[in-house]
């Protein structure tokens, strides 16, 4: 029994490390956006690399967790849900990494007065992702608390929708080239994708939590 508990202890730590990586990538993503908007190219690159590294760590952890869950036939009833959950949460980091890569490649010219709105949108999306990580942690230990965190995910997703909509309206009301307007709009959508991913995972998590109750 001690041996089995030892194995589960290692897996519990790995799951926590995976979720830590997701939470940390969100914070780093927000910093990278801040640096881009402030024109600090070097800092932006460093934070982008940080997100890429966290994404790699999270991928490795997820694969290892998946292998061990199967190898030791653990949680047979919830294995599918847990694996689906981890894979979908991983998509959040992937989206963050992809968005930062698009910033790096396309270098959108954001009017300085729109910076606060882009930053607010990024912060709101990251808050949604953080709430999701908290919900995922609760799923493993305290199913009653999951709902409280999911409620915040949905709140931040709606707020991100509202902010993105406001930003797009302001962009298209401006006297800019249509190509520039569309380019700016894409970056609003790219950032918003983070909260959309969080919402998708939240929907799955809500169902899995119902299944977890006795």
């Amino acid at each position: 029994m001690t041996l089995v508990f030892g194995k589960t202890k290692v897996l519990e730590t790995q799951i926590d490390q995976f979720l830590d990586a997701v939470a940390q990538s969100g914070l780093t993503f927000a910093l990278a956006i801040r640096d881009y908007l402030a024109g600090n190219a070097e800092e932006f690159d460093a934070h982008s690399t940080g997100v890429t590294e966290l994404e790699r760590q999270a991928d490795d952890l997820r694969r290892d967790i998946e292998t061990q869950l199967y190898a030791h036939s653990l949680i047979p009833e919830h294995r599918g849900d847990v694996l689906g959950l981890l894979e979908n949460i991983d998509e959040i980091i992937n989206t963050e990494k992809k968005t930062l890569s698009q910033f790096s490649v396309e270098k959108p010219e954001i009017p300085a007065d729109l910076n606060p709105q882009y930053q607010e949108l990024a912060n709101t999306c990251v808050a949604g992702a953080e709430a999701l990580v908290a919900a995922a942690r609760a799923f493993f230990r305290d199913t009653k608390a999951v709902h409280d965190h999911l409620h915040k995910v949905y709140f931040y997703e709606k707020e991100a929708d509202r902010l993105s909509d406001r930003l797009k309206r302001e962009i298209f009301a401006r006297d800019l080239d249509l190509a520039h307007k569309i380019h700016l709009r894409y970056f609003s959508l790219h950032i918003e994708d983070v909260s959309d991913e969080a919402e998708n995972v939240a929907d799955r998590l809500a169902i899995s939590t119902i299944k977890r109750t006795m």
Binding site: L74, R141, T143
Partner: protein, 349 residues
Amino acid sequence: MIFLFLSSGLFLGWALGANNAANLFGTAVRTRMLRFQTAAVVCGVFAVLGATASGAGATKTLTRLGAVNTIAGAFMVALAAAAAVYMVLRRVALPVSTPQAIVGAIVGWNLFAGRPTEMATLQRIVFSWIFSLVLATALAAALYLGLAALVRRSHVHLLRQDVLTRAALIAVAAFAAYSLGANNIANVMGVFVSALPVPAVQLPGLGIISGAQQLFFLGGLAIAVGMYTYSRRVIDRVTATVSEFSPLAAFVIVLAESLVLFLFSSQSLEAMLARHHLPRLPLVPVSATQAFIGAMIGIGLVKGSQSVRFRVLGEIVIGWVVTPAIAGLASFIGLFFLQNVFGLAVVAP
């Protein structure tokens, strides 16, 4: 020749093991929490232990109802019970059980032999069937609420909970198998105890093993073989019935079921209750399947009545009447044939 006569009891034991294993570890195996081989071996061993060590209590009650006094008579009584349950009523998907059949078959022997049936004992037995169902329902509901609160408060990680649940499932399956052996061995071998006087033997390290215990050991082995050889198919067949329950709920159901079987079979518990002037339960063979269904209903009631299938309750009540009637009739007709066609003595003067 003795083994030929015992074959009906052994067949009844085999069928009992094959059919009741689903109630002990069916959900655990289906949800892949336990391996079938592990569960079947552990439960088989504990069923033999329960039958040999604690089978006497419920057997005494059956003997009081009717002491079948020839081996040929005992053969037919056990065969009639087996035929009624496994060849007739289970085929029409009624949740009937051997305790009801064996009681009917014994009463059939009493009628054939012209012996009176002790009505007080019969009343106690029928009361036990009803009470065991109610008790299983109440115990499962209370245990479920308690365990749900404990799991909520403990904040145990899902992975750790998984390990604990597996350990709990195998432990409760072993306890349930022990209780099933102790309680239901009376159905399998009870009628042979008064009909077949087996001399006691002294085993080194184990002390004196009475004749009844030797018969119970044989019956227990038949139950264990039934669990190992045939229960996998029964588990696969009945998955639809129990598919809505989680491993933790399955643990509660099996615990409630085994407590009921234990309460109705433990002589030491009965003696302890008597010492403390507490109300005692009669030691009567009760149905593991019906206790299982009662426990499922208990959890269904706690979770919301939409998952309770009250139709099954009605079928159980029908079974309480129909099963003894069919088994009694089969026993009477069978005894008539054995005596008049084969010329065997089914009743001793």
